[in-house]
Symmetry: C2
Subunit: 409 residues, 2 copies
């Protein structure tokens, strides 16, 4: 955890509703030499459906490999999250640590191992110490139930604030609730920025349908954010539906309330993903990039991410410079259909360049004022079709270099 | 031009041989408010063959579009390079400026317009002022011939040193010479880093074959370097073969000396491309990344570029940290075939991680010593096949942020 709160942290922490069938407990496993809780154990009621979206990294952690395997079963009874040690790139010993956790947790909950989900985040290359995991887990088993904020704080590594959000939907006349926690994108040397997110709902949702809805929700939220274009070996988002509300079960978009639930889930994912950007390493500006008029939505997203990942664009924003030339450059390098002479680029709602030319005498005052703020909007119209996408990122500052370079192993 | 010489600049400037049929002249067009030459005019003997590799940007400058068109003819009589104004994103007026230059230069040289090649680099979004271009060009026409160093300095923007290299080959018993100049990757606000490279040889080479050899040479040189992953709208490499030596003409790899010429051309491109990295914005370390054991050479190159473009890897090197975990992350995110448990990673010739595990008790002293130096080697073996590639980059430092963010428009 950093001592310094991100300047983009929300002013207020939301109050999350309890979710029937979800009990969080935390403990000190002391994976690092720190005096804070770093192991989260979540007990889920029998019959909980689970869905997940995991890192696309070709070198994932054993936890990710396990979750991918366990997701096939579609049911969950427990979740264990370790903070301080990512257990990635640790070979057979890393797998043994996961196995130990599965064994202990499934025994405790009287379930099968493939109903237990595990994540780890922190230092990599060091196998998760099984003695600490075992002692921590046993302590957590006996710990009193804790609230969301404590759980959100326990999964943190170098995050500067706990990240939580909530949403609700009416399904068959009954309000169902969703509560979510997320961590990232901090860094513990020699760690990498990992994003872990967990969503809990008392709705009853068929696992396959939950997976479909989660995939839809993450495509326009967690998969539309970038801090530094680097993808962790451990990125994980899991959604658990306990079915403890009295609302009727959802199994397809034909079902009454399914659209409302999808909207709530998408909203929750969007809120959580934005919190990650707001805690981006060294971030001083939260940037929304909206691309319209592209050949397709996919094309728009690739162009938007090309802009969001461009170090030249990100440093320009850090410098409060409406540098539309760098935006053109990033559009051009995306490799997607684009025509220089049809591009329109705006900052903060003011069109700066249109049809391949800077707008003569555009009003610079509101643009400069906008760039001095902490919430930056960049709008790009490609002028070719109706494809559109929004992505979110932060600026690239000296703070990023401080965090990631000013370290000696 | 920056006042501060890159710490990675070569200690000595090479002396380049004159190339028969090539005459360089420079002039002050004053595209910016500076007192230096910024317009280069190169006259080429009749019968000069030309080949080129241009930016893959979908939003190229009109100069790039023109060069692409003119390359179809395969012959060149003149080259004009403007520094200080990129003439990119300038619509019809930008095209008019190119047209004016074509008209003036072709008239001067008594050739067709499609034998004139043009590049511009510098501020974007401002049409190249035709009055300055015209006056500058007319001055250059009457200027005395200048040497390579003056030409190399005249094409610079924020480069901290002029970049030149030479190579030679024996073709049919006669030595042919190659001299090359390049500029990049500096930045003039609100400009973008543009790489322009020009290679001149007195060999006689069929244009189509020159194109083939240049494509081979750039694939493993200019296309294997990265400073910040951003691609300019103006990147250009042109090769001119005047045929003024007495060596027999080359038209295919069957020809005696063709292999030697390809080797010399590839060597020259490699030298020039490394000079660009050595002048990378804020660079304090020159990094070579060698990937072996990949599924294919293409796969190896994509993995190597993923490592080279990773901000986390680049900041780790800036921090002199042998952070192999970030290298694993970058391998994983490349999306290429890779198996975490077969990866081997070394720094400066010392294996740090093998078969998915850190090497216990590896000798840290030589690794730390290596990372304190300014020439860093990272070796990654994927353990799957025989595909290999080398790429070059620099570290990501506070200097990069200073150059690119600490600017107000």
């Amino acid at each position: 955890m950093s001592d310094k709160l991100s300047p983009l942290a929300p002013a207020q922490t939301p109050v999350l509703p309890e979710i029937g069938g979800v009990t969080c407990r935390v403990a000190r496993a002391r994976y690092k030499d720190w005096n804070r809780c770093d192991l989260t154990f979540v007990e889920l009621a029998a019959g909980t459906a689970v869905a997940g979206v995991l890192t696309s990294s070709k070198c994932p952690s054993p936890e990710v490999e396990w979750c991918r395997e366990a997701l096939r079963g579609g049911t969950a009874r427990g979740l264990v999250v370790n903070a301080g040690n990512a257990n990635a790139f640790t070979g057979a010993r890393g797998k043994e640590a996961v196995q130990l956790i599965l064994s202990l947790a499934s025994e405790r909950l009287g379930c099968t191992e493939n109903e237990i989900f595990v994540s780890s985040t922190g230092v990599i290359g060091v196998p998760l110490p099984t003695d600490k995991a075992k002692a921590g887990l046993k302590t957590a088993f006996e710990a009193p139930a804790c609230g969301w904020e404590e759980a959100a704080a326990t999964i943190m590594t170098t995050d500067t604030f706990p990240k939580m959000a909530t949403a609700s939907a009416v399904v068959g006349g009954t309000t169902v609730h969703l509560s979510g926690i997320v961590k990232g994108s901090g860094m513990i040397a020699p760690d990498m920025a990992t994003m872990l997110g967990y969503i809990f709902t008392d709705a009853a949702v068929n696992a396959a349908f939950l997976q479909k809805m989660l995939s839809v929700a993450t495509a326009s939220s967690f998969n539309c954010i970038t801090v530094d274009s680097d993808t962790s070996t451990s990125d994980t988002v899991l959604a658990f539906a306990t079915g403890q509300s009295s609302a009727p079960a959802l199994a397809s978009f034909e079902d009454n309330g399914a659209d409302a639930f999808q909207a709530a889930l998408s909203d929750l994912c969007l809120q959580l993903s934005h919190l990650v950007v707001r805690d981006g390493e060294g971030a001083s500006k939260f940037i929304e990039i909206a691309v319209t008029g592209a050949d397709s939505d996919d094309s728009a997203k690739r162009i938007a991410l090309s802009i969001a990942n461009s170090p030249l664009v990100k440093t320009a924003i850090a410098g409060e410079d409406a540098n539309w030339g760098r935006v053109v450059m990033a559009v051009g390098k995306a490799g997607e259909p684009a025509d220089r002479d049809r591009l329109t680029i705006g900052f903060g709602g003011v069109t700066v360049a249109r049809d391949g030319l800077v707008v003569p005498d555009y009003d610079e005052a509101p643009v400069s004022e906008h760039l001095k703020g902490s919430e930056i909007d960049i709008a790009v119209d490609i002028g070719l079709g109706s494809g559109k996408a929004k992505v979110w990122t932060c600026d690239l500052t000296h703070g990023y270099i401080d965090i990631n370079a000013d370290y000696r192993s």
